[in-house]
């Protein structure tokens, strides 16, 4: 199977600081990949390079066989790679419905400025798309609330729902559960994954909570010191010596040899 997204020899330096080096990853269609690593290990740099927020210092990124290295983010977005943010990026003075209308209206107007000037903001099409997203992400009770008044979890859902407006092939989620209480995390991820799986989206998500990673990822990329030190199924990757030493730290091997995740995994 040829990869949907293929990253080769990717690196990023900021002056003397090496933020990412020699990253090689092939992402096949439909996979859900968890990205783990300590703060500063290069996870967000990796996401930022794929989505065009940062220009790589070296290496290539291929999407559906064409080179997208260094393109501006909105062009990458138009090709079908979307992202959400660690701190949810929504329009605070718009309601939930209007936020989603904005997202779907841009997608429907073909992302061109002239198209945007000639198409209506609230049309039957944009409203229908917005309502679909509201029900898929289960935020109906907040439909008319201003985004600035939303609870953290709902704001995260809205951010992700907006990112899916253009029906992206690949969606990168930067810490979808950060700032969410432990009790709510799983429910939130269930909603996110349910909505995205229904659309057949290929997902890469950055996550600190190993329980979440084990539950939701098909595959794990472990970052350390700017590069990938382990790549495999959750069991393989989380069992890796170096991953246990540098990232999870608190993973406990029980008597029967099975892995169980520790809670204090924010090392």
């Amino acid at each position: 199977m040829s990869a949907l997204l293929s990253v080769k020899g990717l690196e990023k330096t900021f002056g003397q600081v090496v933020a990412a080096r020699d990253i090689n990853v092939d992402v096949p269609q439909g996979q859900t990949i968890g990205i783990i690593g300590a703060n500063g290990a290069g996870k967000t740099t990796f996401v930022n390079m794929i989505t065009g927020h940062l220009t790589p210092s070296g290496g290539t990124i291929q999407f559906e066989g064409s080179d997208i290295t260094g393109l501006p983010s909105r062009k990458i977005m138009r090709l079908g790679i979307a992202r959400s943010f660690q701190v949810a990026q929504v329009f605070p003075t718009f309601s939930v419905f209007e936020n989603l209308c904005a997202a779907t209206a841009i997608a429907r107007s073909g992302s061109s400025v002239i198209g945007a000037a000639l198409s209506r903001f609230v049309s039957a099409g944009t409203s229908a798309d917005a309502e679909t997203a509201i029900s898929q992400f289960q935020i109906g009770q907040f439909r008319d609330a201003l985004a600035s008044t939303l609870p953290q979890g709902v704001r995260k859902l809205l951010d992700i729902a907006m990112a899916t407006a253009g029906n992206p092939r690949v969606l990168l989620l930067d810490e979808p559960t950060s700032g969410i209480s432990l009790e709510e995390k799983f429910g939130l991820m269930d909603v996110i994954m349910g909505a995205l799986k229904a659309r057949g989206t290929t997902i890469l998500f950055v996550e600190h909570d190993m329980e979440i990673v084990q539950r939701f990822a098909d595959r794990v990329l472990a970052f350390y010191d700017g590069t990938v030190i382990a790549d495999g199924s959750p069991a393989e990757a989380l069992g890796d010596e170096r991953v246990r030493e540098f990232i999870t730290g608190t993973l406990i091997r029980s008597k029967d040899g099975k892995l169980s995740a520790g809670r204090a995994s924010h090392a």
Binding site: R74, F91, A103, V113, A116, A117, R120, F121, A165
Partner: protein
Amino acid sequence: MTGLRILLGALILGGLGAAAPFTPLWLISLVTLAMSTGLVVCGLIILWRGGLVPFGQALFFATGAYTVALSGRWFGMTDAFLLVALAVIMAALVAFVVGFLLAQYREIFFAMLSLALSMILYGVLVKSETLGSTDGINVAQASFLGMKPRGPGYTFALFWLALGMVFSAWLGVSAYLNSVAGQLAGAIRDNEIRVEYLGISVTNLVHLKLTISAALAGAGGGLAALSISHVDPQMAYWTTSGGFVFVTILAGAASVPAAFLGALLFEIVRTIAVALLPGGWQLILGSVLLLTILFVPEGLGSLMIRKRAAVAEKGAA
């Protein structure tokens, strides 16, 4: 916009047009001038909603005015419709060119850079003899599709032209404000990163807004040139730009009709202020601005909308 509102707008403007022959000429001239300011303010509203305040919109206003004056002087053009169309095109063209620079900036930098550009035009106009220097240029009386009304008829004709321009601007600007690009103004003000990551270029959106606002300013400038029958570098000066911002604050960005009412109020207040305090009329104008900001910070348009909302609520209850 509903057909009913369009019909209502057409009736109001048509009524004004029909009332013209029974109105003193000075008042008609004043209202025509107010409509030219209102056209510029419509453009400012478009930028304002996106969080952009240009301190140099007179650049496009003067471009429109001088286009009318010079087309008459150099090429002998007299048709008012053609002259106004040229004014719109030239102003939009200038905005399209300077937009490659201006659209990169936001907030105070956008404001001051637009001011700088308008002051460059002012300097060029003052220094250049062929453009009339400080004295400016007289604008010949225009014709209207071959008709050449004179005396009071000319004032009426310009007034009717202005009404037509206001009607078109109202329809066009309302359509734009309800479009995706228009509604994204608030989104740009709120969060540019999010807009970019939805796949659309904020720079291009700002560029488009600037060009549309300049076309409106050019229309206002062209109309003013015809109405005053004279253009001078003062039209590009920063106090002219300041006047437009003044009216925008007075009117608020909430509605297009408010832009014209605000412009009318501005002209009336200025006329009365000059009559009362010939040497210190700015004192009165400044006080009005102060009171507006203190008591109606969202502008006159917000009063209209609040009232409409109150009526709707009462109707629902």
